[in-house]
Symmetry: C2
Subunit: 273 residues, 2 copies
Amino acid sequence: MSALEPVGEGFVLADVDPKSTPGVADRADAEAQLEANHDELGSLQERLWAESKFGGTRSVLLVLQAMDTAGKGGIIRHVVGGVDPQGVTIHAFKAPTEEEKRHDFLWRVRRELPPPGIIGVFDRSHYEDVLIHRVRGFSTPEQIEERYGIITDFERELVASGTRVIKVMLHISKDEQKARLTERLERPDKHWKYNPGDVDERMLWPAYQQAYQIALTRTSTPQAPWFVVPADRKWYARWAVQSLLLDALRELNPQWPTADYDVEAEKKRLAAT
Amino acid sequence: MSALEPVGEGFVLADVDPKSTPGVADRADAEAQLEANHDELGSLQERLWAESKFGGTRSVLLVLQAMDTAGKGGIIRHVVGGVDPQGVTIHAFKAPTEEEKRHDFLWRVRRELPPPGIIGVFDRSHYEDVLIHRVRGFSTPEQIEERYGIITDFERELVASGTRVIKVMLHISKDEQKARLTERLERPDKHWKYNPGDVDERMLWPAYQQAYQIALTRTSTPQAPWFVVPADRKWYARWAVQSLLLDALRELNPQWPTADYDVEAEKKRLAAT
C-alpha cells in the first residue's frame, strides 16, 4: 500500500524533502518488496489483458514527469520491466516534430494511449506543454492558462473511457542532480547519457519548480491525481512507483474472463483431432 | 553459443525432432544459463542504444513464427523480458485490417521495423502471407510464388540498412499442441487463451508443415537465416532463442560511443551551477 498522498489543497512542492522515504523501513526492505511484488504486478496485468480479450476496456496509464536525471528510465527498467513486455507500451515524448506542431498539443498524446488490457507509460507527456512551455516561453501565458483546463477535461474523458491514470513527478534535489550529471561526465561509459542542454535546463531550476508547483496543483483531480515521489534515493522512488501501480491494479481487480465458447464441445472437437 | 545450424541446402523440417535439445545438458542447465545471461543481453542492448544516440544505425529484428501454442508469448516474456523494456519494440501481426489490405503485404511490416538501437520482435510477420495464405488459399499460387523473392529482396535491403535479422520457427509436435490446447480448456484461468479457431488450424497441420518447409527453404539466406528451434520443451526453446540473440549481439559488438561535446568544458559549466 503506497504511503503517498495525492497532491491536494494547500500542496507545496518545496515542502517535500527529496531525500525522504515515507512508508518503507530502509533500502533492504524496499528492494526486497520491489522484487517480491513483481509477480503480483505481472499477474494483475495478465488478468487485465485476459479481460480485454473478452470485451474489457480497462487500461492503466502511468505518466512520468521529472527534471533530468531524476530516474524515469530506471523506473521503467526496474518497475515496469517486471511486467510481461507484451503487456506494456512505452512512449518517450521528445521535442515535437514539425508534423506534431501542426496539430493541437494533445494530438500526439492521444495516438499513444494504451489500448485495453495494457499498462501504458509516458516518459514525459502533455505536461511538457505547461512546463517547458511556461519556463521557456514557447507558448503565451494565455495559451498555458487555457491548457490546464484542456488537460483536466482530457483526463476526465480518459478515465471515463476506462483508463486508470496515475501521474508521478519524480522529485530530486538540485544537489542530487549535480552529483548525477557529474557522474555522467566522469564515466566514459555514461558520456552518451549526457547532453549539454541538460545544464541549460538546470540553470532554470527555480522556474521549473514553480512551473511544477502550478501544474501539479491545477491538474491534480480526484480521478487523475498527481503523486510527488521523493527521488533522491532511487531505491525509494522505484518502490513508491511500484506501490502506486499495485494499488491501482488491485483496485481494478481484474478477473479471468468466462469463456464465450462451449468448453465441453471444444474438448470433444479437440479430442477428435 | 547457439548449437543450432541455420536452415540450408537439403533441410527437411520433418527430420527435426521437436523434443530434441541440442547444445544444452538438461533443464537445470538451460534455466541457469537463461537467468545468468539476462545481464549480458541487457548490457549489449544498452550499448547498441547508446551507439544509436551518436549516429549508430544498427538494430536487431527477431521474427517469431510458429503453430499455435508453440510458445511465442513465453519467448517474449522470458527471453525478451530480460532486456530493458525501453530497448524493445514488440508487434503482434493479426489478420490484416481493411486499411492494411489496401496496401502491399510488406506495408504494415515496414511500419513496425525497429529503429536504431532497438531489438524489434515480430510475433508472426510477413511470413503469414506465404503460410496461412498458402494453406487457406487467401492468395493465388502465382502471388505466393512471387512473394518468396519479394521477401528475400526486402530482407536483404533491411540487413544492408543495418538491421540484424534472426528468423525463428518454434517447432512443436502435433501431440504437444494437443496437450497444450487441452490444458487451456481444462483450466478456467486459461480459457481466455483458447480460441475455437485454433482447432480449425490444427486440422490443417500437414498443410502447414508443408508451407513451412517451402517457406523456410526458399527464404533462408546467409544474411537472414532461418533457425528451427525444437519447442516441445519450453525451457529449451527459451534457452535456444536467447542464445541466438546473444550470438547476434556479441557479433555486432556495440561500443560505448565517444562524446561529441567537450567533456572538460562541460565539467566546468556544470560545476558553476
